[in-house]
Amino acid sequence: MDVTLLVALVIALALIFDFTNGFHDTANAMATPIATGALKPKVAVAIAAVLNLVGAFLSTEVAKTISGGLIKEGGSGVRITPALILAGLIGAIVWNLVTWLLGLPSSSSHALFGGLIGAAIVGAGFGAIDGGVLVSKVLIPAVLAPLTAGLVSFLATKIAYGVTRKRERDGFKIGQIFTSSLVSLAHGTNDAQKTMGVITLALIAAGVQPAGSGPAVWVIGACALAIAAGTYSGGWRIIKTLGRDITDIEPAQGFAAESATTATILASSHLGFALSTTQVASGSVIGVGLGRKGASVRWGTAGRIALGWLITIPASGVVGAVAAMLSQLGLWGVILDVVLAMGAILTVYLVARKRRIDARHFTQPAPGVFVRPKRRKKKPLPTTTGSTAVVPTKGANT
């Protein structure tokens, strides 16, 4: 099979995945400032996009082995071929788009792991997967991440509401701008790395690049642009879920949630217990919902999100596995794979257009601006011969 064509397809799909990763994860940082009105929706996604772009260049650390030990590589294990990577990417992209359509904040990394796992199982059987690593690196952190972030943001909310009085709490909006920007920057330094890792893995597998070398400059640039473009396009459905649907967020809660998210992500990445950004951010929002007196958490929405997390790896794994089976048919199988993937992307796009959710759903009148009331239809004046029953008055029926 023509290796050059295959590698080109892998790079193209990896960049598409990077784009979906961007718009899937805008919400992690920007759902709360948009919900409280700390930032205008368009401004918020623009800041997130720039910080993701910058973040992708800041991190010079070589993108680590993308499979993270999940797939046994090397001598006794699987030889990861570009065709398997392609299949894994298709699984990840399709699942990311489906969850976006449903407005579910699910982890893009898990979608990528799932897709690659599915493809690896088809390529080399179940023996290719290290079940223990799957449980300890993915499943247990998925339970611990929202619990940790929820606890932190719950206490932070209690503090914020205990210390400040009602009329002072608008000041939290200014703090929100900084904390949400930190979340964005942290995201940028992490997530574009994954795609760089995948592309580099494919280039190494194809023999274009020596083994053990880091991502090339053009790979870094392309990944940075793709994730920034994805971030700017917004992912408004997920912003709506996280910012509006779980609980109603006030500025103090927004600040507490973002502080908790930033602190948990930074602690996890520096103290050595990896947690998913998406799951941390969702947990923070639930925590602030529980922490404010009078606020309520819509557990139905939270349950739907948790269900989405549970099935992310199996679902993208199944898609990845089917794609891997097709790709084993040879060149035509791979082409069929790509055509089917494009069809899926187009379908999701068309369905999404029917029920659009975009920036306009989030514009809020600035405080103090007079909102013109809706003009009422003029009621026909009661005629002199008519009864007074049209305008019921007190005591009219007695």
Binding site: T148, A160, S268
Partner: protein
């Protein structure tokens, strides 16, 4: 299958302390900025400066080549 529970507890404690500290500093800053006594304003400003320092420390942690 091994879970590094010690690392997990460190992460929980670390994030709890840092997030609550930042929120407490900012909240007290807001509370103090709202009052008439002459000492309140400078103290609240100082607290906001400390908050800014915490944010800068966050950036320091995020950007890899600032720390070895």
């Amino acid at each position: 299958m091994t879970i590094d529970w010690l690392a997990f507890v460190t992460v929980v404690v670390g994030s709890l302390v840092s997030a609550c500290l930042l929120v407490a500093l900012f909240s007290i800053g807001l509370r103090l900025s709202d009052g008439t006594a002459p000492w309140r304003r400078p103290v609240s400003l100082a607290l906001f400066v400390v908050c800014a320092a915490v944010v800068l420390f966050g950036i320091y942690l995020i950007v890899p080549f600032l720390h070895p």
